[in-house]
Symmetry: D3
Subunit: 114 residues, 6 copies
């Protein structure tokens, strides 16, 4: 999730479950993503693949596609990861993931982002 | 899947569904994995992540952990990808994926492979 | 599902699949939820947990959060059940379940319900 | 997916992932659905069942309900397949699948289709 | 599930959860499979497809492959249904389903069954 | 997971991914289960429900059935939670969960545990 996505999540949870918001930042970002042993770009490729395959978290997939682009993935790499999921999770999962990517790319076009 | 895994799959399917075997080679290996736009190591990271998150294909996960190691991933990178899946698919999925990795590493130790 | 939710489901199915509607009432409510051996509050906690973890039935999750509140769960207990699902089904499932809970709580605020 | 659905999918993918669109036509339609050994009506029943059970691909389920009707399934048969999924994938999956069927039937009513 | 499979299930549940056994017979077999509107062969094709796609119930898939054969499906039709699931649920689901079919066919060979 | 289960998990991970073991204890047990707002018995009911519904983590389900019994659930309550999952996740998930419960009960009988 990019910075804006994290802020939106924390705001949304503030009135109902602030501790879930805190855990959802501390565990992934504080404990996992910063670990040595795997570069951040590869971590985001792994997350985009998993969320596409699971197919039930489009908001989080959207955030991680943006984060992947922010840490150096190209759009072509994102497209390849999602396309590849057709093999392992079926075409519907890949097609639905690509719709999410399309919306992210379009939103970033409007902001002049890669 | 490494070469031995593909051969085993094709042998197993030979008497019952040879065309599924053919599709399972042609589409992933002929059409997808060889595409430019994403390096093979990143493709295997994506597959290991997705199969760990989906949690219902330990044989295929085993094959792809081996293939990932064969194309240049370190064991530490595999461990990191699977650990990270605790965030996105829950701890049971990550723990079960790690059991698969442990068995692959042990088998490769016996063969003197990285 | 609370009373209003059941009526809405039956109305929606009336013209297309009334028997599915009948089964969807008779089996859960006639055969299962009324069984001795587990109190109704615990049954709703189990259902909210399962639907949050499965992650693909927000309408039914919404109905069962309301029903849980109607049979004596507190909002805090609902929040805890959903938060806990981050451990077993991953953060996206928990975050998406919490969005559903937030909408239910907001709707009940408007009606003066607990 | 009926013809219109395929065209819409290809159009949507044209600017971002035309190869995924090509694979999503060539593999299912070129390699699988045309195979002898199972009639097309039974193939669509299988697909409607699987997509209802998986529960995370309503757009594709919608397309395949239409295609099933186009190749000779009756609406009653579609309703029975989806109802039956309550047994194997739970009531939420069946109820959500029926909502998709209801929308398809309604859209086809407007076009004078069976 | 064929007759032997149902008996085995009821025996297994007898000492722990006889009512689940009763529900697991009454609802599918008493309420659903006997309904007019869809022939039994098509119902079994739908179930084999769904259980292959879901991928987490090999015992039940095994029983329903046998039942499908008992009600008139050919082995080739079973193979086609499972192969087709590669499109909608990915290759691992189809490959794992085919392993189950292979074991069923082999067991039936030993009994001289089709 | 009961104490013995946690020890077995940590031992199994010690040589390959000790940090995953540490996270798998710290987050659920250090951060979540000890929170006020939901009693431990209800938390275990929620976990047994979710793991039965997800259907891909029999080892973890086994551990949590034992833990549920250790914190005051009766066997009848466990049976009811798992039976109820037939409604929300389908009969195969409930039947497979009951097989796990049966094994846990049998093992505990041998140890003279409730």
């Amino acid at each position: 999730m990019h910075g804006a996505g994290i802020d939106a999540m924390l705001d949304s949870l503030a009135g109902i479950a602030p501790d879930l918001g805190r855990f959802a930042v501390e565990f992934p970002y504080g404990d996992i993503l910063c670990r040595p042993g795997l570069d951040l770009k590869s971590r985001e490729i792994a997350t985009v693949a998993a969320l596409t395959a699971l197919g039930n978290a489009p908001v989080q997939l959207s955030g991680h596609i943006s984060m992947a682009l922010n840490v150096g993935c190209t759009r072509e790499e994102i497209v390849e990861v999602i396309t590849q999921m057709a093999v392992y999770a079926g075409f519907p999962a890949a097609l639905n993931g690509m719709e999410v990517a399309k919306a992210v790319f379009s939103e970033r076009d409007g902001k002049g982002l890669s």
